[in-house]
């Protein structure tokens, strides 16, 4: 379903590289270079975003298979090819990536003033990697993008980060790399088994059950770190705290979704028996994540760390949803990922606004901002409510569907997984009260300025999306409904056939 053979996905993937080339060509003094780099990055990412809207318009939600498929022969003798395509699971993640990149560029406009050129290059490279990762249809290509994301992110944290940036970036790199090495082994094993790395073919391949368990654990090592699931989550708060605002936004908005996407693209459809077998373990870890990290969030004194922990809790809800293996649960997990992509990204921007002004993330240094920054208080309130999952905001739809989906599995899973509703309200409102409410007593806050027009422009699309996704979620869920149903049906069929095999072989004895 390629529009007149036009390689749209490749264009989206590689266009940011053109921007990189342009930025590299600029000569002149530092100020000129910086200014040029900013504008080039903004325009490139905006063009990519506008082009990606073609996906929004032309994607056929009723069709569960891959669309906009491109295929170029690469290493045919090994069954490896450069193949791109999107289905309902990935298309919205592509859009999320292309949307958040210009927002990040804009948010870093004044916040970054050292090595602006390199920063913008890193971001454009990051965009290429993200879009490529979500649209790759070949496992090797996917793996390259999946790992490629690490490099610019590592640099963004390590160069433009806070005081402990080196510790944080190395921790981030090592955690994710450890998982990835195991995934590469799984990839090789799959290739040996199936003779190809073509994802659609792998999706149709039946892997032996004994092998599935090992493959699942290998994938799990990689994706669980990315999500991140408890107890491999501690790299995230450190990375967030040290990363510059824009880095946090992409990290929370897109990079965490790579784990959930991986589960949904590889683990669940390719390894059905292992998925059923390991689901209880995932539920246990996720419930612990929801409750444990919510408690930890309550004790934080650093705003970014608090939101980072809340991300872990929210992603716990996602993994519960994905492994319920019913339509409501998976749709809920998908929706929660998209919503979290918007809301937590926005919350990091919200923190960034006052960090840029006061250069501290310490909650105790604030209080009473509502007085001086009414617009800021309003925007913050909307995202706080969306994070809590108030109906009418994007956060509610996913959470509710996950509760419904998990009740089909188990009552207690539903109740405990829903604990985030209470604890989330506690830590979010407690944060809001300490930062925005209260009497304005700190002298250095008296002169603080409300949102600038540039900041308004950054927040406006996110506010619209958070409410739109909450009030009319159908315009998003229609993209993935068919694909999710297909995954659920495929899984049920695979389990049913394996049960049949088991029962016939049992009868033979």
């Amino acid at each position: 379903m390629n529009i007149a053979g036009f390689p749209l996905l490749s264009l989206l993937t590689w266009l940011p590289m053109v921007g990189v080339a342009v930025i590299l060509c600029v000569r002149g003094d530092e100020e000129t270079v910086a200014e040029n780099a900013r504008w080039t990055a903004l325009w490139t990412s905006l063009i990519v975003f506008v082009l990606s809207l073609v996906l929004w318009a032309k994607f056929d939600g009723a069709e569960p298979g891959f669309q906009f498929v491109e295929s170029v022969s690469w290493l045919p003798e090994y069954g490896v090819g450069y193949r791109m395509g999107v289905d309902g699971i990935s298309v919205l993640f592509v859009l999320l990536s292309t949307l958040l990149t210009p927002i990040c560029v804009l948010s870093a406009w004044e916040a970054i003033h050292a090595r602006v050129r390199e920063f913008m290059i890193a971001f454009l490279v990051l965009e290429t990697m993200m879009v490529g990762m979500f649209s790759a249809l070949d496992f090797v290509v996917f793996y390259m993008f999946f790992e490629g994301v690490l490099i610019p992110m590592y640099l963004i944290i390590g160069i433009w980060g806070g005081p402990r940036r080196v510790y944080a970036s190395v921790k981030f790199f090592l955690y994710t790399l450890t998982g990835s090495v195991l995934m590469m082994l799984a990839l090789l094993a799959m290739w040996v088994q199936a003779g190809t790395t073509d994802i659609p073919t792998l999706l149709r391949t039946d892997f032996p059950v004994g092998m599935q368990y090992w493959l699942f654990l290998a994938f799990f090592a990689s994706f669980a770190v990315k999500v991140p699931m408890w107890p491999v989550h501690t790299w995230l708060p450190d990375a967030h705290v040290e990363a510059p605002t824009a880095g946090s936004v992409i990290l929370a908005g897109v990079l965490l979704k790579m784990g959930g996407y991986g589960f949904l693209r590889f683990s669940i459809p390719m390894l059905p028996q292992a998925t059923t077998y390991f689901a209880p373990m995932i539920f246990a870890l996720s419930v612990v994540a929801v409750i444990y990290t919510s408690f930890v969030a309550l004790a934080q004194t650093d705003m970014k760390k608090l939101i980072a922990y809340s991300s872990v809790a929210h992603m716990g809800v996602v993994t519960i949803g994905l492994f319920t293996l019913n339509v409501q649960g998976i749709s809920g997990g998908m929706f929660q990922m998209l919503s979290h992509g918007i809301v937590s990204a926005a919350l990091f921007l919200v923190v960034g606004v006052i960090y840029d002004r006061m250069h501290t993330r310490d909650i105790d240094r604030y209080g009473g901002l509502a007085d001086r920054m009414p617009n800021y208080a309003f925007v913050f309130m909307i995202f706080a409510m969306a994070s809590i999952g108030l109906p009418g905001t994007s956060g509610f739809v996913g959470e509710f569907l996950v509760v419904v989906g998990s009740l089909k599995v188990n009552f207690w899973l539903s109740l405990l997984g829903g604990m985030g509703m209470i604890l989330g309200a506690a830590y979010t409102l407690y944060l809001y009260r300490r930062v925005v409410f209260g009497r304005l007593t700190k002298p250095d806050l008296r002169g603080i300025l409300d949102l600038s027009p540039r900041e308004m422009a950054v927040f406006a699309p996110l506010v619209v999306l958070a409410l739109w996704m909450g009030i009319y979620p159908t315009s998003f869920s229609r993209y993935f409904d068919a694909s999710v149903s297909a995954i659920v049906d495929h899984h049920a069929a695979a389990i049913a056939s394996s049960v049949k095999v088991a029962s016939t072989s049992g009868a033979g004895h």
């Binding site: 921790k171 090592l174 955690y175 107890p231 989550h233 501690t234 708060p237 444990y292 408690f295 930890v296 969030a297 309550l298 004790a299 934080q300 339509v327 409501q328 749709s331 809920g332 009473g368 509502a370 007085d371 009414p374 409510m385 108030l390 109906p391 009418g392 509610f396 739809v397 509710f400 569907l401 509760v403 419904v404 009740l407 089909k408 009552f411 539903s414 109740l415 829903g418 604990m419 509703m421 209470i422 309200a425 506690a426 409102l429 407690y430 009260r433 925005v436 409410f437 209260g438 009497r439 304005l440 009030i471 009319y472 979620p473 159908t474 869920s477 409904d481 149903s485």
Partner: protein, 643 residues
């Protein structure tokens, strides 16, 4: 169409005032919100009147699809049946009066006033969405919407730490109930395959024997659903256990308290029980639970009300107690009586709160009744309003509360169930206490010698007409609503009035049996009420030494009531402190020490051992040659030995 206008015009008012308030100014924002509220009230009350006396068409208004996931459908729609219309009429009418009253009450407030009016309209809109929902999810939208609005309004004076704390408390306590509610909704979907009311109510017969396994046994699914939904209702309607937020909610401006306690928010739980009556009616054990909790709350909150000295706090506990009555009625499947009391209560409770606001306004913001007294000559109109409200609350003939409270007590007696009898006796005791604390409030506030200092007394003045006007309208409602609507709500006309909006089982004859009760049952509430009034006069007017003596002799009882049965202290000890303790320890010990210990330790070992290894590289060729020689000798020696 008219119905949609009634629901959405508060939203329009809210958005205009909220988003443009700063540019158009406070006055204009007030005008806009009140204009839209009046429009809503006209439409809402007309719809109610048409439905009550002109048998108007009942047609659901579809709006937009909302959450769709495979077989799960929930659409935005406005349900139009008697239950919804009654609530819409009542909510729009009372909320409009509260808006108008607020113009006077908030006139001297330091904050920009547009924010307040925007929130008030948001509150009204959320409540209207709740009562007109056609599925459980939209109901939950309104449910959380009123939660948000109450959070914003309770914390309206955001530089007051107590207000911020109360706002958060309201939200979190409510959320505890909400979690049960959401799981209940999920269970409804699990049982019925739908969360749309028409689909659920149409399939009641098929699923009534469905079982659901929990705690290792099988329960009837309806019982589990009933209990889960009721836990949700307990949070929103402040029933014992989840009630602690309501008395604190008076940290907000007084009109907000009136809105929370009368028209919106707390009545949502009672409404939910009536709305889900098709399921609840078939869940006898869940109903028994409802009645027991309701009865307990009715009594327990009334005892606290007798010992409080803050004028708003007394009325707040009275709300808690009155909600208990409504749940007693719901618990004996007399939903009609429960909604009837909700309806009459809305008027007299709004009246009482707004009158209390008028008193507070008169005495320069003082809320402690021990610093009032002797006010009745100065503010006679407010004094009269208090009498009307208290007569209605105390259930004195012919005021509205007489009809509705009597109906609840009679219904609970007539039900013949054990839980119903429990509700009856709790309610009867509660009626006595209600009358007692109401007149205790009147006497302490208005009679006796002035206890305020003379500066305050000099400034005591009757409120402006913009405040007293709404009071008079509410007083009329509190007086006549009982006998005007008795026949429709609970009398022989109820099937034509409710038109299927409330479903009871075929063998439920509670309303019929009410007519054939022993004579004393009908008289008992009135006797209890009059005794309470008499006792209040005796103790606070004629023999003022009684209360201190009582407090001395029965010190534990007095302290229990005065300290609100120690619920806040207990919860602080059981939940709040352990939560923060756990939070700190999970972070410092769990994350920082245990989980991060492994990778940091490994990094430490790697770095440490490489530091040790580095020492071998001395750079001295002699040492290297020596080590090499030893190595060669060792290898050769080994070789010899093995060979």
């Amino acid at each position: 169409m008219m119905y949609a206008i009634a629901v959405f015009s508060p939203l329009v008012g809210c958005l205009i005032a909220g988003l443009l308030g700063r540019s158009i100014g406070g006055r204009a924002a007030q005008g806009v919100t009140i204009g839209f509220m009046i429009l809503a009230a006209i439409c809402g009350v007309t719809a109610f009147v048409e439905n009550t006396w002109y048998d108007a068409e009942q047609e659901t208004v579809p709006l937009l699809s909302w959450v769709v996931s495979s077989t799960l459908h929930a659409d935005w729609a406005l349900r139009h049946d008697t239950l919804s219309v009654t609530m819409v009429g009542m909510v729009t009418f009372i909320a409009t009066l509260i808006h108008i009253y607020s113009v006077g009450y908030m006139a001297h407030d330091a904050y920009p006033v547009y924010r307040f009016f925007s929130y008030l309209s948001l509150f009204t809109f959320a409540m209207l969405m709740l009562v007109t929902a056609d599925n459980l999810l939209q109901l939950f939208f309104g449910w959380e919407g009123v939660g948000l609005a109450s959070y914003l309004l309770i914390g309206y004076w955001y530089d007051k730490p107590s207000a911020c704390a109360a706002a958060i408390k309201a939200m979190i306590v409510n959320r505890i109930g909400d979690l049960a509610f959401v799981v209940g909704i999920a269970l409804v979907f699990f049982t019925f395959g739908s969360i749309e009311f028409p689909a659920i109510f149409g399939a009641i017969e098929q699923h009534q024997n469905d079982l659901y396994g929990l705690f290792g046994t099988n329960f009837r699914a309806y019982e589990v659903i009933g209990v889960l939904l009721f836990i949700g209702a307990m949070g929103k309607s402040a029933q014992i256990g989840l009630h602690t937020w309501l008395p604190d909610a008076m940290e907000g401006p007084t009109p907000v308290s009136a809105l929370i306690h009368a028209a919106t928010m707390v009545t949502a739980g009672v409404f939910l029980m009536a709305r889900m009556s098709p399921i609840m009616s078939y869940a006898p054990y869940a109903l028994a639970f409802v009645a027991v909790i309701g009865g307990t709350t009715a009594f327990f909150a009334a005892t606290i009300g007798c010992a409080q000295t803050d004028i708003k706090r007394v009325i707040a506990y009275s709300t808690c107690s009155q909600l208990g009555y409504m749940f007693v009625a719901a618990g004996v499947a007399a939903y009609q009586a429960s909604i009837f009391h909700l309806f009459t209560h809305a008027f007299f409770k709004a009246l009482l709160f707004l009158s209390a606001g008028s008193v507070i306004h008169a005495v320069s913001g003082e809320q402690d009744m021990r610093k009032m007294g002797g006010l009745w000559r100065h503010i006679p109109l407010t004094y009269t309003m208090f009498w009307v409200g208290s007569l209605a609350l105390g259930g004195v003939f012919p005021f509205a509360g007489y009809y509705s409270k009597d109906a609840i007590l009679e219904a609970s007696y007539a039900s013949g169930t054990l839980s119903g009898m429990y509700g009856f006796w709790c309610g009867l005791l509660g009626a006595f206490l209600t009358a007692f604390y109401s007149w205790r409030l009147i006497i302490m506030t208005f009679h006796g010698k002035p206890r305020a200092d003379h500066h305050v007394m000099e400034h005591v003045h009757e409120s402006p007409f913009v405040m007293t006007g709404p009071l008079i309208l509410l007083a009329i409602g509190a007086t006549v609503n009982g006998f005007v609507f008795r026949r429709e709500f609970i009398g022989e006309g109820w099937p034509e009035f409710w038109r299927g909006a409330i479903v009871i089982t075929a063998n439920n004859h509670v309303l019929e049996n009410m007519e054939h009760l022993p004579g004393w049952v009908g008289l008992a509430p009135t006797v209890a009420g009059l005794t309470g009034i008499a006792l209040a006069y005796l103790a606070y007017m004629f023999v003022p030494s009684i209360p201190p003596a009582f407090a001395r002799v029965f010190r534990p009882i007095y302290l229990l009531a005065y300290n609100k049965w120690y619920f806040d202290e207990l919860y602080d000890f059981l939940f709040v402190r352990p939560t923060f303790w756990l939070a700190r320890n999970l972070w410092q010990i769990g994350d920082a020490t245990l989980i991060d210990g492994a990778p940091n330790g490994m990094a430490e070992i790697a770095a440490g051992s490489s530091r040790q290894v580095v020492k071998i590289q001395t750079g001295s060729i002699a040492v290297y040659a020596f080590v090499m020689l030893i190595g060669v000798v060792l290898l050769l020696g080994l070789y010899m030995l093995v060979r």
